[in-house]
């Protein structure tokens, strides 16, 4: 899921490459055009096979039962299996917290850089993109080392208590912090595209000129005009958190993906059913988001 979702919502942000490649070929005759159409079909077919076969195979696996040809039992069992609700709620809670923190962190920073320090924009861009090149395993190894650091003479200090508090099993704040870092590249891209589409400086100055304070201006002018890119940033973050396995697993927290992995040993069919189920939820979210985005585009 984590591997699939980051590409999904990015698609509407980038112009379709197909039509561009199509342009110059138009005047060069029928045969060439037909050949291009054939190649397009072939590539589409290969892509479809690549994506659909694993999905279909997963689905077939979940509906196979010893005596019958078709049974949706595995899907029914999802909801009764021990730990389902708890781990899903934990993952969603972590997702929501991550969205709030990452947006509160990036939006003001990006606005400030755009408005008063445009020269720092490349620096911010590199910093926000950096998490993409750091493998999660490296990341979690570092986090683990930090969490285990604790010489005895610090035992009675607030530092120690903080280290414990952020590892609370019911709501591990340390995961929120880690996910904020992981989500930075996606959130940065989404917001950067949104900010690039509006003339931020003029809108800010117009609102200031009409007497608006900074909070008023951010919530009444900037946020409403960034609705679709804020939605897209939030969705990407949520998808990322719902699918993140490495960090949660190595720090021993029962998030949703970790739970799927845990039950796959004992109930293989149910664990695959949950995967298919969560993919469906992700797609529905994506659909809702892109149709909301399209509505906004046609409305403004």
């Amino acid at each position: 899921m984590a591997a699939l979702t980051p590409e999904g919502p990015m698609a509407p942000l980038t112009p379709p490459a197909m039509t561009v490649a199509d342009g110059p070929t138009a005047p060069t005759g029928q045969g060439r055009r037909r050949r291009i159409r054939v190649w397009r079909g072939v590539i589409l077919a290969i892509a479809a096979v690549y994506f659909l076969v694993p999905l279909l195979a997963s689905f077939m696996f979940t509906v196979k039962a010893p005596e019958q040809d078709f049974s949706l039992d595995a899907y029914g069992q999802i909801f009764t299996t021990e730990g389902f609700g708890q781990s899903l709620l934990l993952s969603i809670g972590l997702g929501v917290a991550t969205i709030v923190v990452v947006l509160l962190l990036t939006l003001p920073a990006m606005l400030a850089v755009r408005l008063s320090m445009p020269k720092l924009k490349p620096v911010l861009e590199v910093v926000c993109t950096l998490p993409l090149v750091v493998p999660p395993i490296t990341f979690v190894a570092g986090i683990n080392t930090v969490l285990q650091f604790g010489p005895d003479y610090l035992a009675s200090t607030p530092f120690y208590q903080t280290i414990f508090a952020i590892q609370d099993e019911n709501f591990p704040v340390v995961l929120v912090l880690a996910y904020v870092i992981l989500a930075l590249p996606f959130v940065y891209r989404a917001l950067d595209a949104g900010l690039g589409a509006i003339d931020v400086r003029t809108l800010v100055e117009a609102a200031r000129n009409l007497g608006a304070s900074w909070p008023h201006l951010i919530f009444r002018v900037i946020v409403p005009n960034l609705r679709s890119s804020l939605a897209s940033a939030s969705f990407l973050t949520l998808a990322l958190v719902l699918g993140e396995f490495t960090i949660a697993s190595l720090l021993h927290f029962q998030t949703f993906p970790v739970w799927i992995y845990t039950i796959s040993g004992s109930q293989a069919q149910v664990s695959v059913a949950v995967s298919v189920f969560s993919l469906l939820i992700t797609w529905l979210l994506l659909l809702a988001l892109s149709s909301a985005g399209a509505r906004q585009r046609s409305g403004s």
């Binding site: 003339d199 003029t202 117009a206 000129n209 009409l210 304070s213 005009n225 403004s300």
Partner: protein, 363 residues
């Protein structure tokens, strides 16, 4: 609604090494429309942004009605502004755009809608309140931006090249509209533009800026007829620079002896500044002058005339173009009136080449 007096005192602003404002002093009278005119980078927009509060001067002060507002934040100032780029809030309807400032000040909904409607009627667009900015033309958007700026009844109106993104016809009708509104409201207005025609046709006074300093401030007629410096002369309208020779307080130019207006340079060799409409042209087969190019402009035609090794621009009545077709030998004389002169500096000569004779093949 009455206009305020705006005073700029010794404004200085430095952008990483470039001096945008270099000690600008200017007093703008209540109810006056003043145009800041100058080439790009002369500091006119920076000066306006200092009044709006978007820019802090390094030195100097901005006073409105003798009150120092230099350190007052932009959202606490009493000045409405219209921007060069379209600045309406895309997410709000036209009515809500106009009422934005009233909403910030927590005016009751009914009252602010009534006021918005009143302003839309004032700008002649009473039926567009429910529409959204992207449904309007550029000219309509700028009108709404003007209504929005006027909604709070500011005592100063700041216009930052509001017409430069519009096409020619809309530009002219909108500038008349702005002038009409400004006169009827009596609001002190600063209009930044690089278009001299716009400045001359709208403003009570025009302030010509150059490199962050005030070059001349005067009413349009004075600015055009009696430019204080050669820079103003060249920037406002078109100027010929014809070599001449000073003797006493007169100057000999093209075989005519004309009185000198203003300062007389120390050197006898000077350039005489003459407007194209002050150059008279008559066909004469014996004369040395020859028409090189004639461009017809309707009521007038502009001729480029070769006179030995100099070239002169002349504006003649449009109906004379057939008599004065390219290739015609002509005699050139100047209208008998005092002329401005400037010392013939090498830099001034290069300005002649660039300003007077367009060199299209220069890369």
């Amino acid at each position: 609604m009455n206009g305020a007096k705006v005073e700029l005192r010794g404004l200085r602003r430095n952008f990483a090494g470039t001096l945008a404002l270099d000690g600008l002093d200017l007093t703008i009278e209540p109810g006056e429309l003043i145009a800041f005119l100058g080439p790009s980078g002369c500091g006119k927009t920076t000066a306006l942004r200092c009044v709006a509060g978007f820019e802090q001067p390094d030195e100097g002060a901005v006073l409105v009605d003798d009150k120092d507002i230099t350190r007052v934040p932009a959202n606490k100032r009493d000045a409405g502004m219209v921007f060069q780029s379209y600045s309406l809030f895309p997410n709000l309807s036209i009515k809500d755009n106009v009422a934005f400032g009233l909403r910030v000040r927590k005016v009751a909904a009914a009252k602010r809608h009534a006021r918005a409607q009143e302003l839309l009627e004032l700008i002649g667009l009473p039926h567009i309140g429910e529409r959204f900015p992207h449904q309007l033309s550029g000219g309509q958007q700028q009108r709404v931006a003007l209504a929005r700026a006027l909604a709070l009844e500011p005592r100063v109106l700041l216009l930052d090249e509001p017409l430069s993104a519009l096409d020619a016809k809309v530009r002219i009708s909108l500038r008349d509209e702005i002038r009409r509104l400004q006169l009827s409201l009596g609001i002190t207005t600063i209009f930044v533009t690089h278009d001299q025609e716009e400045a001359l046709s709208m403003a009570d006074r025009v302030a010509v800026l150059r490199a962050g300093r005030l070059e001349q401030v005067a009413d349009p007629a004075t600015l055009y007829d009696r430019p204080a410096t050669p820079f103003v002369a060249e920037f406002v309208g078109t100027m010929n620079r014809i070599p001449g020779r000073v003797s006493g307080d007169k100057v000999t130019v093209l075989g005519q002896l004309l009185p000198v207006d203003g300062e007389v340079p120390a050197t006898p060799d000077v350039e005489v500044l003459v407007r194209p409409e002050a150059v008279q042209v008559t066909p004469d087969a014996e004369a040395i002058g020859m028409v090189l190019v004639s461009s017809f402009r309707g009521s007038t035609a502009r001729l480029r005339i070769q006179l030995g090794d100099t070239e002169v621009l002349a504006d003649v009545p449009g109906h004379d173009t057939t008599r004065l077709a390219p290739g015609t030998r002509v005699r050139v004389s100047l209208v008998e009136r005092p002329v401005l002169v400037s010392a013939a500096a090498p830099q001034a000569q290069s300005a002649t080449v660039e300003g007077l004779v367009p060199q299209h093949d220069v890369v």
